[in-house]
């Protein structure tokens, strides 16, 4: 009888202690407000162990239902579950403390941080409640409260852990490489930025900020009160005021911080992340210089070679069965079909260098049979003429065409228009005129056209003759 009352007193004390801790946890965010300002360094130092310790309670909690269920047939495991639950509570409290130190010490704020924090507090209180109700359940007195509470704890755990993961890896970590149909289903309508879709900002500036800055200055983490995930937020600036001064790159804080020496404490991107590329900095600078507009589509002086994306290389069919015919061509005519690589689907190169002088339109026409397999035709210095375009138009997989120093005049170049794979065309040293090459403009994938030493050559830039080295010294 005495022992029983003793146990009851202990139970009461435990409940009171749990209540006190729970109230404290709920009050914590009001006592130590997460105001986005960094605090003591020792808090950050300890806080940075949060990502390490946080996995401990996760492990214990996941183990718990496993032990409880397995314990139905093996009672010893159920006994162990009580111990694991106690460990889970202890590690929850520990991880929560460190997590709070991390957020408070480094001045983290933002909805993502808040969600993670509240998730952790609710989870910890839930685990505490589990500890209190479990004895009644294991003695068989109350059968439903503990299982229901445990299920709730598990769901809270998943949600809280996901919030934490989004903080450290970015909110698109899980969806970034998700197959597109699934993605559309999970996150419809992402990525509006408050700027014109074809503007220089949307095309070039936003992607740079997105890749380098938004993990700390975005929706889930708002360091320094600054968000860079939309045009409006970028122009609004942060705690230290505006980061973009339109027309004045020198005074724009954003540009200043990314161009500091990397050893500087204020250098961005912080924490050892890779610095912005020189050309990215140059684009941001030019964009600010010219008014930091949300609508301008082009920035004078910046020509970003992005053109159309490289067309995906189409594999040619397997030509292995034609090898004897290919070899006969080489020994007969002298012009060779050379494999691009050991992979037959990479295609063949038509190589004429050994017989250039005698290789003309008639010889080229004999390669008709291999047309779909030829990805590159080296016809430089050969005797081919404009008549060759009829044959070449059948080379449907042609990617590179060399016609330098040949007699072509460009009449009929338009016949090459169906060659959707063609990216390289060398007409150097021929007699093509600008009128003759005009039809090429319609070939969207054709990005390298060489017209050196032709009437069509754009006004030749004078050869730079820099001043001699001896003139300037330290």
């Amino acid at each position: 009888m005495k022992r029983k009352s003793h146990a009851r007193v202990a139970g009461l004390v435990a409940r009171l202690v749990a209540l006190a801790i729970g109230v404290q946890l709920i009050l914590l965010p009001w006592v130590f407000k997460l105001d986005g300002k960094p605090h003591a360094n020792w808090q950050q130092f300890l806080g940075r162990f949060h990502p390490l310790t946080v996995h401990l309670p996760i492990g214990f909690l996941v183990l718990l239902p496993v032990l409880e269920i397995a314990g139905m047939s093996r009672p010893a495991l159920r006994e162990a579950a009580g111990f694991v639950l106690a460990l889970a509570l202890a590690s929850c409290l520990f991880a929560l403390t460190l997590g709070y130190l991390l957020a408070y010490g480094s001045g983290e704020a933002g909805p993502g941080v808040m969600r993670h924090m509240w998730g952790a507090i609710v989870l910890t209180i839930g685990v505490m409640a589990c500890v209190l109700v479990r004895p009644a359940w294991s003695s068989g007195a109350v059968s439903t409260v503990y299982p229901a509470l445990l299920a709730f704890v598990m769901l809270t755990l998943v949600w809280t852990a996901h919030q934490g993961g989004s903080l450290s890896h970015g909110s698109n970590y899980l969806t970034e490489y998700m197959p597109t149909p699934l993605k559309r289903w999970v996150a419809p309508g992402a990525g509006a930025s408050g700027a014109a879709p074809d503007s220089f900002y949307t095309q070039h500036i936003n992607p740079i900020l997105d890749a380098n800055c938004v993990s700390c200055h975005g929706a889930s983490k708002i360091k320094g009160g600054l968000r860079l995930d939309s045009y409006g937020a970028l122009m609004r600036g942060g705690k230290d005021g505006a980061v973009i001064i339109a027309g004045n790159p020198g005074r724009s804080l954003l540009l200043q911080r990314v161009t500091l020496p990397q050893s500087d404490k204020r250098f961005m991107p912080a924490e050892g992340r890779p610095p912005l590329k020189p050309e990215e900095i140059a684009w941001i600078k030019a964009w600010i210089q010219q008014g930091a507009s949300s609508t301008a589509t082009a920035i004078a002086g910046v020509s970003i070679q992005q053109a159309p994306p490289v067309p995906p290389i189409q594999p040619v069919g397997n030509y292995s069965s034609m090898m004897p015919a290919i070899e006969r061509m080489a020994s007969g005519q002298g012009a060779k079909l050379v494999p691009v690589s050991g992979k037959p689907s990479d295609g063949l190169i038509l190589n004429t260098v050994d017989v250039a002088g005698s290789f003309g339109d008639a010889q080229l026409a004999q390669f008709d049979a291999f047309a779909p397999y030829i990805v590159e035709a080296e016809l430089g210095r050969t005797a081919v003429t404009d008549a060759s375009f009829d044959t070449l138009a059948k080379f449907t997989h042609l990617r590179a065409l060399h016609l330098e120093r040949t007699a072509v005049t460009g009449a009929g170049l338009a016949k090459l228009a169906p060659l959707k794979q063609l990216v390289y065309l060398n007409l150097s040293g021929t007699r093509v005129t600008s009128a003759a090459v005009a039809p090429l403009a319609s070939m969207k994938n054709l990005r390298h056209v060489y017209l050196f030493n032709t009437p069509a050559q754009p006004a030749a830039a004078a050869v730079n003759t820099p001043q001699s080295a001896a003139g300037s010294k330290r």
Binding site: P278, V338, S341, G342, S428, H448, P466
Partner: protein, 516 residues
């Protein structure tokens, strides 16, 4: 069996064992006999081995239609002579700056050094770094800031020394590697390591591996050509030997063919008076018949190499004069390369030849420029070296670019090591010297396969140690091979029981950060 014409006594000899001579002599005779037989037989065995090698595995197994095993493992014979995967570059030009250019005077800008003039290099920076015998005895290691100012150029804002006004114009095309590092500290081992992947002589060089692995694109010119730049006596010229373009244990067909810098590009290439093409052809046919006979008798694969070289020389009699005939070059060429290019043997002339070889699909051209070994008088010698090479480099890249050749040609600029930040010998406000430095040196590449307009890697503020992204020689070479469509782990050749490769036995990596 037919007796070999040179062997007169090996088939029927008197029975020495029955002669009345001392037993010791008999024993010695027996030993000789055994050795002679062994050598005689092994010649034939080697012949069979070579024949089997020539026919390939398929020929011996008789299943000529068998598919080549896909991917992985060393390249089988039928996979050779073509890239493993579609390459970005079909050919390469290697501008070799022999002697070790001083990186902090050219492209590795170190602004903080000016304030440290004549201060000792901190021991913490030098660490346990081995020094050469030339400066190991120095009591002090006074820091010598560069004598020249640096400015930023191009969209990439790359810092370039005033010594390289032409290179400065093309920085947006270059892939600058500031953190190339080597294991050797003296010229010969370092230059061997850079070229052959091994400090000891006897291994094939990069050009030979490329010839072996990719084959020729132009039957009338060698696959691998070497151009030497005329020596300037004012410079400290370290010797450059043919070991650097040797094919090592690969067949000598793959060795580099050097062009001379003056007179006939290839000695004895023109026919002597009274010998016309027909006579030459007849003579070569007769020599070939004799060589084939020797081949069947002795089976030395080098005989085949010799036959191929005679044929190549015959074709070069027509192709080389055409290659070296600059009379049809337009004025724009001379405007670009400058007056030096008209004088055979200068660096600019060699650059122009390299462009002409690229046009003619020579697989690999290597230009050697000696004299970068500036142990002393940096301010006197370095401007000469730069004025000799700067414009040629710029002209070559610009020319390749405007002719549409840079898309599939890889150009490499490198020496065998860098130089020390501290002065060798005395340091005065006007002059200093620099010793060899293996930890970091600056190289660049451009063209097919590499990312233009970037600087890769970072050195400390003394340009003494690598801070970020080191590129050891083996990684540098692996990257070059990658640009040409070769997996450095699969281009191998079994020799002395090892699958030998350019990058050696230490695991090497393609430097992804350099790739386009």
């Amino acid at each position: 069996m037919k007796q070999h014409p040179l062997c007169t006594d090996c088939e029927q000899s008197a029975d020495v064992m029955s002669m009345p001579i001392p037993a010791g002599l008999k024993q010695e005779w027996a030993a000789i006999e055994t050795r002679r037989r062994f050598l005689g037989r092994s010649g034939k065995v080697l012949g069979w081995a070579a024949l089997a090698n020539l026919l390939g595995e398929r020929g011996l197994r008789g299943d000529a239609h068998a598919e080549a095993p896909p991917q992985a493992g060393p390249a089988s014979r039928q996979q050779l002579k073509q890239p493993f995967f579609a390459p970005k570059a079909k050919r390469a030009i290697y501008l070799f700056m022999s002697g070790g250019p001083p990186q902090m005077d050219l492209l590795d800008y170190k602004p903080k050094l000016a304030a440290l003039y004549n201060q000792d290099l901190p021991d913490s920076v030098r660490g346990t770094q081995q020094l050469t015998g030339m400066t190991a005895g120095q009591a002090h290691f006074p820091i010598a800031p560069s004598h020249w100012a640096f400015k930023r150029y191009g969209k990439s804002g790359t810092w370039v020394s005033d010594l390289l006004p032409y290179t400065a114009q093309m920085v947006d095309d270059l892939t600058i590697v500031k953190t190339t590092s080597t294991d050797a500290i003296n010229h010969e081992p370092a230059i061997m390591l850079m070229n052959t992947g091994n400090m000891n002589a006897g291994k094939p060089c990069l050009g030979s591996w490329l010839s072996y692995g990719l084959g020729s694109m132009n039957d009338n010119l060698p696959t691998f050509m070497v151009l030497q730049t005329k020596v300037n006596a004012k410079e400290n010229n370290q010797p450059v030997s043919s070991r650097l373009w040797s094919s090592g244990f690969l067949s000598s067909e793959y060795a580099g063919v050097g062009l001379r810098s003056g007179g006939d590009p290839v000695l004895y290439l023109s026919d002597p008076n009274g010998v016309d093409r027909a006579v030459r052809r007849k003579m070569l046919d007769a020599v070939e018949a004799l060589n084939r006979q020797t081949m069947t008798e002795l089976g030395d694969p080098e005989t085949n190499a010799r036959i191929a070289q005679y044929e190549m020389a015959y074709r070069m009699q027509a192709s080389v004069p055409e290659l070296a005939d600059l009379s049809k070059e337009p004025q724009s060429t001379w405007d670009l390369y400058g007056p030096d290019a008209k004088e055979p043997g200068t660096f600019a002339y060699n650059c122009l030849l390299a462009r002409r070889m690229a046009e003619r699909d020579v697989r690999f051209t290597q230009i050697y420029k000696r004299g970068w070994d500036v142990h002393g008088d940096v301010t006197g010698v370095l401007p000469i070296l730069c004025s000799e090479t700067d414009r040629g480099c710029y002209a070559l890249i610009t020319d390749l670019k405007r002719r549409g050749l840079l898309d599939d040609t890889l150009v490499i600029w490198a020496g065998e090591f860098g130089r020390t930040v501290y002065s060798q010998g005395g340091l005065t406000p006007d002059n200093y010297g620099r010793d060899h430095h293996p930890n970091c040196f600056t190289t660049w590449m451009t063209g097919g396969g590499v990312q233009p307009g970037i600087t890769y890697g970072e050195t400390d503020e003394y340009s003494y140690n690598v801070v970020r992204d080191p590129v050891p020689v083996r990684d540098f070479n692996a990257t070059i091979l990658h640009c040409l469509g070769i997996d450095h782990n699969r281009l191998t050749y079994e020799f002395q029981g090892l699958d030998q490769k350019l990058t050696g036995t230490t695991p090497a990596n393609v430097v992804q950060g350099l790739l386009a």
